[in-house]
Symmetry: C2
Subunit: 366 residues, 2 copies
């Protein structure tokens, strides 16, 4: 194998595939990047078995071939080389020679035939979404995936297509996040993708209008970008019927400025850190929302203007869960829908049905 | 005590004095900021006994008084308040009321008479330096202070005034850093300041031409800026006679571009990380410097152009020590002065006598 390529181009490819290397595998070969030189293209692949990423890089291939090289050391070498053309070739003794201007590295490589093959994906069941939209949907839900491993299915994000709508859903027992988008497609799909994988996928997606094709099989999901393919294993099992968690009716509606509410809760939670309860109390009155909290450190009272429909109530929350939701919303006018101090609070953006959040209150001892 | 002040002004004051709070004290009062309201000024003080910082903040004082309040919680509250006027007053039950727009905090405070007094400093023995120059001198030497606690004096920086020159010197047994500056002053001073303190001082110093007055006593040093005073304890004991470590003569002189050398060493050290030795070899030839390194990972060869006076030699270094020096130098043309593969290497900037560095080579087994 002998090829030359531009430093910036191969570095970009390394940065993309490296996101699949999580260090959780015990197989040394999975710490490596598979590189195949053929035609006028390098194919780079990295995998941790749960997720595999493949990308293409332009190159001048002088002799075709393939190797696997430790991703960390290879990435560091390429990153530190001058911004110039790089020549990479196999020399004797399992060594890869990397030459760039006056720098010469001889680095140990691994045999490419030990690298696991990519799962075969039949691209029949396919939907298409804009990259920026999918990126935004992942950002708007991934904060709500469960951190504990007690219910593995909740560490995933539900990827659901039904009624010409794509829904991404995450929940952890305390809060629920749903992002939706119209899809001109009549398929019925319902898979759960590991949350951590999807967060890595969102880092590769760009904030542009271009399409990403998404293909589903029984065990895998494939995200197909122009030069990059990301294949993730699906989580086994059935996701929770999240629709049953959403209240059908609400008795009161609070319209409030998102940034003002977020700032007030952030301040109130300063006095709620003691003992890690993050407990804040909301006293919802006709034109005002009073937020209070207290601990050994002292106490705090915040007041913000609201528009209330319905009767005022008192309700308490873990401030972290409210803040996570508010920080991940986009519009500035939001509406909180509630019924009582012990029933779920639904938070939505005004005039936007594509984002819906639910937070459970904390039941107070009286 | 009752006063009002602008959020930004008191926040700036808190940020300055907070640098004295290191959390290493076991006295709860030293986790606090002392605040005294008098005339039209707040005096803020924080201290960890080794270093004390005092700064002044403009305020409208309605009732004079003083308190101590936990620095962390007070800083977080002020930081998160709206950018507006803040009213602070003592109310009943050891509580401090902090009001800003519609936010009200009641926070527990501590009695100010338990706060230690600042050391008395007689401002007779005084020198004056520009803030930006002193900041630069600290940056250029502090990287070389000893990390181990085996010789406490080497955890300090020598602050020496002699022959109308201010010298800052740090060394750790492997390398030595000296920064010098002309001083129109005939005093003879020789004190050692804890390195960590001086690094905090340098964060408060600004990159401006304004003067900082420095006063010395037997046990303390005082840095007097316009509104801020920093008092540090001195380290006890005598600093090493660093002049005796500097070779009087050199047999070869290597002129080299600093950035090129730094880049080549950074790349070479990628292959030197194995086993944490950071060992790189320099083969100094007539027009070229060849840098090599090898480990289980592979090997590397770097070549850069130099101008050599004298006979070439081979010499080995811990790459970290060379890199620390090169990263902290300012000019782009540097000269390395050596005699043999086992004697110290002195590194200076071309045409600048105010910075001098020394790195010991690693003796190689043959």
């Amino acid at each position: 194998m002998i090829f030359t390529c531009e430093k910036q181009k191969i570095l970009e490819g390394i940065s993309i595939v490296q996101k699949a290397i999580t260090g959780k595998s015990t197989m040394p070969i999975l710490e490596g990047i598979y590189i195949k030189a053929k035609g006028s293209t390098l194919t780079l692949i990295a995998s941790d078995m749960d997720v595999s990423i493949q990308t293409l890089v332009d190159a001048t291939v002088i002799e075709e071939g393939s190797i696997v090289i430790d991703a960390k050391i290879f990435g560091e070498i390429i990153r530190k080389l001058p911004n110039s053309s790089i020549k990479i070739e196999i020399i004797e003794n399992q060594l890869l020679k990397i030459t760039c201007e006056k720098s010469v590295f001889d680095v140990v490589y691994m045999n490419s035939n030990e690298f696991p093959e990519l799962p075969q994906i039949n691209e029949q069941l396919k939907i298409s979404v804009n990259q920026n939209i999918l990126k935004n949907m992942i950002k708007g839900t991934s904060f709500a995936i469960a951190q504990e491993e007690t219910r593995p299915i909740l560490q995933g994000i539900l990827f659901e297509v039904q009624n010409k709508t794509l829904n991404l859903v995450a929940l952890d027992g305390y809060r629920l996040a749903i992002k939706s988008e119209f899809l001109d497609n009549d398929m019925d799909i319902d898979v759960v993708i590991p949350g951590k994988t999807l967060i890595e996928v969102s880092k590769i997606l760009e904030d542009i209008d271009e399409i990403v094709d998404i293909t589903f099989t029984n065990n895998h999901i494939l995200f197909n970008l122009e030069k990059t393919k990301i294949i993730s294993r699906l989580l086994e099992g059935k996701f929770i019927n999240y629709n049953s968690l959403l209240p059908q009716e609400h008795k009161l509606f609070v319209n409030v400025n998102r940034q003002e509410l977020q700032n007030a809760i952030e301040r109130a939670s300063l006095m709620a850190k003691d003992g890690n309860t993050n407990l804040i109390r909301l006293d919802i009155q006709q034109d005002n929302l009073i937020i209070t909290s207290n601990s050994q450190l002292g106490k705090v009272r915040e007041e913000i203007s609201i528009k209330l429909q319905g009767e005022g109530i008192q309700i308490a929350f873990n401030s972290k869960y409210l803040l996570d939701v508010l920080k991940n919303m986009e519009q500035n006018e939001v509406v909180m829908k509630m019924t009582s101090g012990i029933s779920p609070c639904v938070i939505e953006e005004e005039n936007n049905e594509n984002a819906k959040y639910l937070v459970l209150p904390v039941r107070l001892m009286r």
